[in-house]
């Protein structure tokens, strides 16, 4: 939450029409260097080649061993890694902060593909709870169904499930896009703060409950709205973006997006300062 100061002089940002008030936050007095070299990867990550491909059979490996081996293969420049026999292992394919094409031939257990930043992941099976939790960037495609808390707290990237998902999809998400080809369970978009959720099928009860911001698009029936989730007008810009996104997701290319419902936050719950008057002072 932002504090307000009295504005006496027009700043550059105000003169450009970006805002009227002065909000203060956690500035670090860091400035961009316009002459920064053109570089597309994080400093210290591996230089991998998508055309360099290898297989990794993880049948007799623990999740930790498998994750270490994926890292080892990336260090050798492999840009496409096919994981054989994942056999529903938990916490596999996590913490990848690299450009990578990762393919799982089978299903994953709980907390698969967690805390990743950049890879393109395809899972030719199902996933358990909390798949792609805290995803920062990249694209994750699940060919079948997903469990509860799908895409919990994601910050960015595209998370796609071609089948149906369980409850609390996109709980606490702070960015990115979640796309569901089938149905979604109860409390979808619970406490979401930013980002977008697209559901082509039906969705359960309490959709967008206590959502702070962000947008949910639904193609099917809605069980019920959650607290502070309200309808909004579907604009032309929304429709163009939906068509583009569904093409990226490889699902619903012929879906009539003009009939989708758009749900946003009613912003009636924006009263944390009333509830926590002392805590707000420390917040942005």
């Amino acid at each position: 939450m932002a504090n307000i100061k009295t504005v006496t002089k027009k700043t550059k940002a105000q003169a450009m029409g970006m805002h009227k008030e002065v909000l203060t936050g956690r500035t670090q007095q860091k400035f961009f260097n316009p002459d920064e070299a053109e570089n597309f990867y994080y400093f210290g990550t591996y230089d991998v080649d998508f055309n360099k491909r290898t297989d990794l059979d993880v049948e007799n490996m623990t999740a930790a061993e498998a994750n270490k081996e994926i890292d080892n293969l990336m260090s050798q420049g492999y840009g496409t890694i096919v994981i054989k026999n994942p056999q529903g292992k938990h916490s596999i394919g996590v913490g990848i902060l690299n450009k990578l094409n990762l393919i799982f031939e089978g299903s994953l257990g709980y907390f698969g593909i967690g805390s990743c930043d950049g890879p393109i992941v395809r899972i030719n099976g199902r996933v358990g709870w909390s798949c792609a939790e805290n995803l920062m960037a990249g694209k994750v495609v699940i060919e079948k169904n997903a469990g509860s808390c799908f895409g919990a707290a994601i910050r960015g990237g595209d998370l796609i499930c071609k089948g149906s998902v369980g409850a609390r999809t996109g709980i606490d998400m702070k960015g990115g896009t979640i796309i569901i080809g089938g149905d979604a369970g109860a409390f979808t978009g619970f406490m979401m703060q930013r980002g977008r959720i697209i559901i082509l099928g039906d969705v359960g009860i309490n959709l967008g409950d206590s959502m702070y911001d962000g947008t949910i698009f639904v193609g099917g029936e809605i069980g019920s709205y959650g607290s502070d989730a309200v309808d909004a007008e579907l604009t032309k810009s929304d429709q163009d973006w939906l068509k583009r996104k569904l093409k990226v997701a490889e699902i619903g290319e012929n879906f009539d997006v003009s009939k989708m419902k758009k749900i946003v936050a009613g912003k009636k719950l924006w009263n944390y300062d009333n509830l926590e008057p002392t805590e707000k002072k420390g917040a942005i």
Partner: protein, 138 residues
């Protein structure tokens, strides 16, 4: 006497507060809670892909993505009166140098913000590089 003085002070502060609320708050909700809770940009603004810069096109291609991906959530905001971009990795606002001329519409500014943020995050001078050296466990 003391009581009279207190009454005057109290009524003045209420008057000032009311005046500020009426001037600064845009919604009834903000007026009621006495605080603006806005972001520094429209978080729900969808990107206009026709405005993508050549650098961003190259970045998306290098990463193997089909679109702006995580950069769809990056917008140009402001910090202490100057245009700035929020770097989620450093958890702070990074200011745009005054030497960079900014266009007069948000979509074009957002694309510049995305380009600068990528350059900043991928730079060996990013604050996380030092932190990684100091705290990397495995």
């Amino acid at each position: 006497m003391a009581k009279k003085k207190n009454k005057k002070k109290a009524s003045k502060s209420v008057a000032v507060k009311d005046q500020q609320l009426g001037k600064k708050k845009e919604t009834a909700r903000e007026k009621m809670i006495g605080q603006s809770i806005g972001y520094r940009y429209d978080v729900n603004l969808l990107p206009d892909y026709s405005k993508m810069t050549p650098f961003l096109k190259k970045y998306v291609e290098a990463m193997g993505w089909d679109d702006l991906n995580w950069l769809e959530d990056v917008h140009m905001g402001y910090e202490e009166g100057r245009p700035a971009v929020f770097c989620r990795n450093a958890n702070g606002w990074v200011t745009i140098p005054s030497s960079i001329k900014l266009p007069n519409n948000q979509q074009d500014r957002d694309m510049i913000a995305r380009e600068l943020l990528v350059k900043f995050q991928m730079s060996p001078k990013h604050p996380l590089v030092d932190l990684k050296k100091a705290y990397l466990k495995f």
